[in-house]
Amino acid sequence: MPRPDSLGQFEQLVLTAVLLLHDDAYGVTIHGKVQDLARPKDISLGAVYVTLDRLEDKGLLMSRLSDPTPERGGRAKRCYRLEALGEQALQESAVTAKRIFDGIAEVWGKEWAKEWGKRWGKEAG
């Protein structure tokens, strides 16, 4: 399998959103999830479309059109799914993020790491 390109932060957010949404990953839900992951930043829907196109071009995502639904004015959704290459890229990003966290914790101390661990736990909860 070819090695995936390294991901930018926004690409990581979009890929994580697609991973979390499983079969319900399309424009609106991905935007909502990315907004949630990137809070308090405001994310535009257009930026999500551009990134989804780019990730699809890189071979990290694949898409298909679903059946039209009435709540969308009778229009179809473009649903996205992670490709194997996308999963690999996301895993590498997660490992790098963990290394960054460990490196910072080593310098700023265990108390800082504990506090951040609690904050993240609260936010996730």
Partner: protein, 227 residues
């Protein structure tokens, strides 16, 4: 979903969106809609990014460079034939580059707005005529606004005619991405191409070497004649 948008507003937004992504983007905007104004604000924020993304997806840098070259060649060639002083005159090349740039922009936008999988046999020629038509429109606007910048009629006409011929040839030899058998799920053409080495057969290599040799001899001859 809140209040649906006004039907006419939705139709206008649909018209402005590239057909390849119209269905899903219109659906997403409809689903998020909380009234016509909010819908309009959403659409205005999304539209430029979607168009730029579509242009990026349909753009082949090498072919675009070729198209830019033949467009410049057409207008500069026509100017050199009809009025050599115009090319070397002040702002001559800059004035010649305006219709070429407008035609190239129109061509890239027409690629972005092309319907995937629906292409006529003579699409190459119609694309070229559309691009040169837009170049003529830009010249007409310049003639009204600032005639000093517009090209003389003969140069514009001959350059446009030559441009249509050469551009049609390039478009027939190298059709845009939307026409190539690339599935929505597959990686872009350039991404797939990157992994494969370019294969030059013996025949092509001989032709390229021959053309290079002829070009070199012509250059040497011209240099000797000048000195």
């Amino acid at each position: 979903m809140g209040a649906p948008p006004h039907r006419i507003v939705e139709k206008i937004v649909g018209f402005l969106l590239p057909p390849a992504c119209r269905e899903e983007v219109l659906g997403d905007l409809h689903e998020r809609s909380e009234g016509t104004w909010r819908y309009l604000a959403d659409a205005l924020a999304v539209l430029p990014l979607v168009i730029v993304s579509r242009v990026r997806r349909t753009l082949d840098p090498q072919v675009t460079l070729m198209e830019a070259f033949v467009l410049c060649l057409s207008f500069v060639g026509a100017a050199a034939y009809w009025d050599r002083a115009f090319v070397s005159g002040s702002w001559g090349l800059a004035r010649l580059s305006i219709p070429a740039a407008v035609a190239l922009l129109a061509l890239k936008l027409s690629d972005a707005y092309a319907r995937p999988g629906r292409r006529q046999p003579l699409a190459g020629a119609s694309d070229a005529m559309f691009a040169i038509g837009m170049a003529f429109v830009s010249q007409a606007v310049l003639l009204i606004g600032s005639p000093d910048v517009a090209l003389p009629l003969w140069i514009a006409s001959c350059g446009g005619g030559l441009g249509v011929l050469l551009l049609t040839l390039v478009r027939m030899l190298f059709p845009p991405f939307a026409d190539r058998p690339v599935g929505a799920a597959g990686p872009a053409f350039w991404a797939r191409q990157a992994g494969e080495p370019v294969r030059i057969t013996g025949g092509v290599a001989r032709v390229v070497k021959g053309a290079g040799a002829v070009l070199l001899l012509a250059l040497v001859y011209l240099l000797l004649r000048r000195s």
